[in-house]
Symmetry: C2
Subunit: 233 residues, 2 copies
């Protein structure tokens, strides 16, 4: 796999201003948003397959058929739910660090933001995507494709920030960016698992330790200075 050096794009800003133009078509969109908000939350607990139209309709205070009319099929509802979850993810993980100092500082800030998003229980059933990855990892189809694409986007973004850091000489020459991304991503994901399964808050400390340790190990003096200046240990 070649190192991805494209700048990752946020979709949230675009999607948020989706079609509210000239005041038309607002009623339907509002209920649709409300439905999807509940859908994401339910699916984070019950899974995308366990998300049922009947229950969703009840919790969103609409009739089952009215709800159904919005999406046309359960598959489409699932896809829309994944997209809605992506927006929430970007809003909570990406946006807070969008203005951080590019390079290793932004990378470290992103990981911290990610851990905070876990700890804050942004979705009531834990990270929507951690669950979805495992639910659909052996269920071919559009939903799986969408989820896999989301994971690729995430990994690519981590690698991108590492790449910026490398270009800024904040990382030792020859650093394997994909390997670095793999390891810090693994630590974060494991923290989420332990937090969700055991409510083990220590897991976040372990993840932070692991991530810092990887970043410091791969950093140049300039990189370490940048981290220190930003207050990131």
């Amino acid at each position: 796999m070649a190192t991805n050096i494209e700048r990752p794009e946020l979709t949230v800003a675009v999607v948020q201003s989706d079609e509210p133009a000239d005041g038309r078509r607002v009623r339907g969109d509002r209920t649709r948003q409300a439905i999807l908000a509940r859908a994401v939350d339910i699916a984070s607990v019950e899974g995308l397959e366990g998300l049922s139209l009947g229950r969703l309709a009840k919790e969103a205070d609409v009739s089952k058929s009215g709800l159904f009319a919005h999406f046309g099929s359960k598959l489409e509802l699932q896809l829309e739910t994944v997209r809605a979850a992506s927006e929430i993810f970007e809003e909570h993980v990406w946006l807070p660090v969008a203005d951080a100092d590019p390079g290793i500082v932004q990378l470290a800030a992103l990981m911290e933001s990610w851990l905070r998003y876990f700890r804050d229980d942004t979705f009531s059933g834990g990270c929507f995507f951690s669950n979805a990855y495992h639910e659909f990892d052996s269920r071919p189809g559009p939903v799986r494709d969408e989820i896999a694409a989301q994971k690729r986007r995430w990994m690519a973004a981590v690698v991108y920030h590492a790449g910026v850091a490398a270009r800024l000489a904040q990382l030792k020459p020859g650093t394997d960016l994909e390997q670095l991304a793999f390891e810090i991503d693994a630590a974060g994901a494991m923290a989420n698992s332990l937090w969700q399964l055991e409510r083990d808050a220590e897991a976040f400390g372990r993840a932070e330790t692991a991530i810092r340790s990887r970043l410091h190990g791969a950093s140049t003096a300039a990189g370490r200075r940048a981290l220190a200046a930003a207050g990131l240990t």
Copy 2:
């Protein structure tokens, strides 16, 4: 969390010789085993909640009611399925390294065995437990408890082997065993995720690199010598 230094016990050897004594009660047990074998496989794809009695009955070539009689409730079927999966896990991951040189060598061998178990697609839907952790991490109840217990047993075992290595002076004094276990476990779990979602075989290489790197970083000269002597890089 205090460092667990208890020796982990394998249940597989015990359970395998479960009740075949004196030739009684064999017919029911055989079909029961066959049912559970299918159940584990289906659940690894569809999840424990997605595992339905109707489908399982069809695939196991028994009537739905006949199947049901074996377990009395879906909950009980799920619990038995988790236990059956535990046996398979122990058989494929633990047993192959049961005779390895205690300490860091056995620890490294265990991780390799674990990665091999992933790569071999032991269950058709990927690692049963990776899926189950995330499916039940926000569904309180006996199934979740059983699954969480299984995860604790695994982590405790990894820590145990690290503890043996520490006592043998194969690890640097002051090494945080839990932290070490956290990091190498995270790498393995991430490899499984990427393998399952993207069929990315490189992920295993990344996990091996990460694990070796952690073990070497924490090893004493004696530890590194033991690893080298065992051919584990």
